[in-house]
């Protein structure tokens, strides 16, 4: 296969408070081996040569592990492939002459900063509300000092694979952050270290999620389909269960603080 020419429709917005609009660009000679972000780099070089503002988009590791890249490509977060971040999406997935729509992750809780960059601070707020264990830090404990059954460790790891990119929010018809929050809740809920604060944690994190202005889950499961790390919707059920426990079972229901669950 040879290089391809593409028509891009890209959301341009000078800053958060400015009005934005889709703008159309042509790019030529894109290698099928380029990643989607490299294709945008080529576009930006062309724009800069013409003295135009380059398109702002986020990226960092470009190897699918940091969660920084975003973009809704032809209506799907991180593009058409399952289990793939935008930086790992390759142009061989497209054909010469294709039209591609590129938009930012859309949610009121993810305001656009510029063009395709959105502010995902709301996720930090959710984690800051309880996505940790309160423990004295000393020297690192011996490996395997705390025995954890293999299945539990696997399930904790599957949840911990979340890179916090926000594709779940972008894909959800309701802009709900349930899958992200559930992954953070579940990864500690599967480990012994997470037990003492388990119910306090779920209550605080759900409260922070609601305060950030995300929508509510309607069990559409678009989040699971869009997640580049394949986080399961079953973690949402676990979070729902634990949240009910934090309200109806925890001794100090008001603070939801009796950790025993």
């Amino acid at each position: 296969m040879s290089d391809m020419n593409l028509t891009l429709h890209i959301w341009r917005q000078a800053k958060g408070t400015a009005a934005g609009a889709m703008k159309t660009y042509q790019v030529k000679g894109i290698s099928e081996h380029a990643s989607f972000l490299e294709m945008l780099d080529v576009l930006n070089e062309q724009l800069q040569e013409k003295g135009e503002e380059p398109v702002a988009f986020d990226s960092d590791c470009r190897e699918g592990i940091c969660g920084m890249c975003s973009l809704v490509i032809n209506g799907r977060p991180h593009g058409p492939d399952a289990g793939t971040t935008t930086c790992q999406l390759h142009m061989r997935r497209f054909k010469n002459g294709d039209e591609i729509y590129v938009e930012p992750f859309r949610a009121g809780a993810f305001p656009v900063v510029r063009d395709l960059c959105v502010d995902r601070k709301a996720f930090d707020d959710i984690v800051a509300a309880g996505g940790y264990v309160t423990a004295n830090v000393g020297s690192a404990p011996d490996a395997n000092a705390v025995p954890i059954p293999k299945e539990q460790a696997d399930r904790a790891f599957d949840a911990a694979a979340c890179i916090g990119c926000g594709a779940c929010v972008a894909a959800c018809p309701n802009s709900s952050a349930m899958l992200f929050t559930a992954a953070k809740v579940a990864h500690l809920a599967h480990l012994p270290q997470g037990q003492p604060e388990r119910l306090r944690r779920v209550k605080a994190m759900v409260t922070a999620m609601d305060a950030a202005g995300f929508g509510n889950c309607s069990n559409h499961y678009e989040c699971e389909a869009a997640c580049p790390k394949g986080i399961s919707k079953d973690y949402i059920a676990l979070m729902n269960r634990d949240y009910a426990k934090s309200v109806f079972v925890a001794k100090d229901a008001k603070a939801g603080s009796d950790g025993a669950g």
């Binding site: 429709h9 959301w11 934005g20 889709m22 809704v72 032809n74 209506g75 799907r76 729509y101 938009e103 859309r106 949610a107 009121g108 809780a109 656009v112 018809p173 309701n174 802009s175 709900s176 349930m178 759900v206 409260t207 999620m209 609601d210 202005g213 995300f214 929508g215 509510n216 889950c217 309607s218 069990n219 559409h220 499961y221 678009e222 699971e224 389909a225 869009a226 919707k233 079953d234 949402i236 059920a237 676990l238 979070m239 729902n240 269960r241 634990d242 949240y243 009910a244 309200v247 229901a253 008001k254």
Partner: protein
């Protein structure tokens, strides 16, 4: 009680309220369907069933009050969730492609509200007797209120039959999503009964659509006669 108020105002709590009230409505819908299937067992036993329900007295009013309450709670919570969810994405996508959800899951508020309008009409028809008042006061030969003939005469009317078919179809679309979704909302999931969580909605919707449509169609095709 402030803890309960903040629970039902939270995203997870509001969903669990939808699940519990929705489940209550589903159970009623199943019992109500079984009652209607009694039309196939003839005038005598159908009227006996209606007579039994009428004779429940205080219990009947408790059931009606409970049903009305969960209905109102389900409806108000559903509308408030639907509005909050629409507001959570102020700027819509130019192109958005769904891969997992269904059209019936995305139209829950719409199908719910149309079903509500139908239920009001349905009560005006068969409970209050406002729609076809002439058919509402028949007595059978045992002197009981003749619910059987009211049913048959009612569904001889094509307009009523069609409105009923449409409403039942919409209800079943609502339940195709809802009747499985409540399990996830309440956190009741496990690989062992994943087949139930996955298929309960569509399966129950099919059972209900068949069960609800059979008696009126029985009338239309003269299997159930006066």
């Amino acid at each position: 009680m402030s803890w309960f108020v903040s629970y039902v105002r939270s995203s997870v709590g509001a969903k669990q309220l939808m699940a519990v009230t929705g489940l209550g409505l589903v159970l009623f819908a199943i019992v109500h369907m079984i009652g209607h299937l009694g039309m196939f067992s003839g005038r005598n036993s159908y009227n006996a069933y209606a007579h039994f329900l009428q004779g429940l007295g205080g219990l009947k009013w408790i059931a009606r009050g409970g049903l009305l309450t969960i209905f109102v709670v389900h409806m108000l919570t559903g509308i408030s969730l639907a509005r909050a969810n629409a507001a959570a994405r102020p700027q819509k996508y130019v192109v958005q492609r769904y891969t997992r959800t269904t059209f019936y899951a995305r139209t829950m508020a719409l199908t719910g509200l149309v079903v509500l309008a139908f239920i009001v009409y349905h009560l005006m028809h068969f409970t209050l007797g406002w729609i076809q008042p002439d058919y509402f006061h028949h007595l059978d030969d045992k002197g009981r209120y003749d619910a059987y003939s009211m049913f048959v005469l009612g569904f001889k009317n094509t307009g009523i039959l069609i409105s009923y078919l449409v409403a039942v179809t919409l209800l079943c679309l609502h339940l195709a999503h809802g009747a499985g979704s409540w399990l996830q909302s309440l956190g009741l999931n496990h690989p062992k009964y994943e087949v139930i969580t996955k298929n309960a909605g569509p399966a129950l919707a099919l059972i209900l659509i068949a069960g609800y449509l059979a008696p009126p169609l029985g009338v239309a095709f003269n299997l159930i006669k006066l």
